[in-house]
């Protein structure tokens, strides 16, 4: 599993790439690995507005549903609609497969982690 250095990571297992006020959000390698085969992604509509930390969609594996939380508030400017037909892309390449882009507004949620901090966080969470 890998965690790019230029991303910030939420404890709810999303990654965020912030470039100016443009935020790109996806799920982490750890998240896709824990979920197993991802078969369904529920995406928001372009133009939808979310507060930092709000649920913006969900991903479903065969066994389970997991909500997606946005690490920063703002307006959705794009959704990765490829995931409607190819949700398994998240399993294949979680770091390269974005889910939504936002025009970020305000401060991100507190406690976002660096790649190294996140790696330690998931190591503790998974018990090894």
């Amino acid at each position: 599993m890998s965690y790019p250095e230029n991303y910030r990571y939420a404890k709810s297992h999303e990654w965020m790439l912030l470039e100016g006020d443009s935020a790109t959000v996806g799920i982490t390698d750890y998240a896709q690995e824990s979920l197993g085969d991802i078969v369904f992604v529920e995406l928001p509509k372009v133009g939808a507005e979310f507060e930092a930390g709000a649920t913006f969609g969900s991903v479903e594996s065969v066994k389970a549903v997991s909500d997606l939380y946005t690490p920063v508030g703002g307006t959705v400017t794009a959704v990765n609609s490829v995931l409607n037909d190819a949700p398994e892309n998240l399993n294949k390449a979680a770091n390269e497969t974005w889910v939504i882009r936002l025009a970020a507004k305000g401060a991100p949620v507190e406690g976002l982690l660096s790649a190294a901090e996140y790696q330690k966080f998931v190591a503790d969470e998974s018990g090894h």
Binding site: G36, S66, D67
Partner: protein, 389 residues
């Protein structure tokens, strides 16, 4: 993201294959008080291996109750709803233990080991309750020994169109003549007198073998099964695939489709309930009264999602007008039939295939249709090359 998997606690029971599962990097979960593998390489791959080749499951968590003695037939006839008098030695039968009100203590597979000797395979999570129920129901009966033999066996299920070809390499017993839901005893992996049953919970051809439960023997047989199945692409399979396989085949799971709140007619299991077998089995009178009143008011049906969405366990079923009419008991994407399917209880007015309903998925109303079950039926043996030898 929040993950709903429960972490296995230290107090959980472990099968003789526990260390084998860890060595295979299985993901372990709590299932009915047991620390069991939910998946190894991936649920969908495991599911497909069973449908197209062969998969192997540790099902040692299943419980086993043995009833022996001159009154054992009378005992099982009173205890279980199916007609055990029709069973021959070496034959097994799907059946159920009922409460006096016609609801389920558990569903079981009854094996006739010999005259006056029966083995009842029960669910893992209901073991203590089941054993207590059997003792309570039959305790007063003489000429009967009731033994909980669950811990004596590691139970391994080898399932799929290549199951026979796989197991045949490990036993001198000719497997082809063993019919579905029949069993025999023989040598497997050098172990003597192993019970070999042509049973399973996947809707596929396959066998379940009962071997000694010690870790060394369990691990050795498991490894030999994997080696024998290698040419067929065998995969070790977890409870996740076991669940989607049984759901595609529309087989009931205790705690979901059947429980102490649901009766036999509602669960649509009347074909296994022999009201006229000549024995007043526990639950019969209540079931007769339900029939007399015109039958059940709701029934278990198959649903297929029409619109985009996955109906899951516990989600409400609605009429198209939005009125709550029932509940999904098991729902999942179906890896082989490639549809989003579910089993659900609905009123009789909605119980025929073609009835249009909706499923409430996290606040959204998503259309579904009642369909005939099973969702998947394996090709007939005559057309299945795996069964020709």
């Amino acid at each position: 993201m929040s993950d709903s998997h429960s972490n296995a606690a230290a107090t959980l029971r472990r099968t003789g294959l526990y260390n084998t599962h860890l060595a295979h990097k299985a993901r372990m979960v709590d299932f009915g008080g047991w620390e069991m593998p939910v998946q190894y390489s991936g649920l969908i791959d495991e599911h497909m291996a069973v449908r197209t080749g062969v998969g192997v499951f540790d099902v040692s968590h299943m419980g086993d109750i043995q009833l022996r003695g001159p009154n054992s037939l009378a005992a099982v006839q009173k205890l279980l709803m199916n007609d055990a008098s029709r069973l021959q030695v070496g034959q097994a039968q799907y059946s159920a233990m009922l409460y006096p009100n016609g609801t389920f203590v558990d569903d079981v597979v009854l094996h006739k080991l010999s005259e006056n000797d029966y083995l009842i395979v029960i669910n893992a999570g209901t073991r203590e309750k089941d054993v207590q129920w059997v003792r309570q129901t039959l305790g007063g009966m003489g000429g009967l020994h009731i033994t909980d033999v669950s811990d004596y066996y590691t139970q391994i299920a080898i399932q799929g169109p290549k199951a026979m070809a796989t197991l045949q390499k490990l036993t001198p017993v000719d497997l082809a003549p063993i019919k579905n839901y029949w069993f025999t005893w023989g040598q497997v992996c050098g172990l003597h007198n192993v019970l070999i049953a042509r049973t399973g919970y996947t809707g596929e051809d396959g066998f379940e073998i009962y071997i000694p439960s010690d870790a060394a023997t369990s691990a050795r047989v498991w490894a030999e099964v994997l080696a024998a199945g290698e040419e067929f692409g065998i995969l070790p399979c977890g409870l996740g695939a076991r669940n989607t396989l049984r759901l595609e085949s529309a087989m009931a799971l205790y705690g979901h489709e059947i429980s102490d709140k649901l009766n036999v007619w509602e669960a649509n299991l009347g074909r296994y309930c022999k009201m006229d077998k000549g024995v007043d089995f526990v639950g019969r009178e209540a079931l007769r009264q339900v029939q007399e009143r015109g039958g059940p008011s709701k029934r278990l049906v198959g649903l297929e999602m029409v619109e985009r969405g996955i109906g899951r366990d516990g989600y409400p079923v609605l009429s198209l007008e939005g009125e709550p009419i029932g509940t999904i008991t098991s729902g999942s994407p179906a890896p082989f039939v490639k549809k989003n399917i579910a089993l659900a209880y609905v009123p009789m007015g909605f119980a025929e295939p073609g009835a249009e309903v909706a499923v409430e998925i996290r606040g959204q109303r998503v259309k579904a249709v009642v369909v005939a079950t099973p969702f998947y039926k394996r090709p007939k043996p005559a057309t299945d090359p795996a069964l020709k030898r």
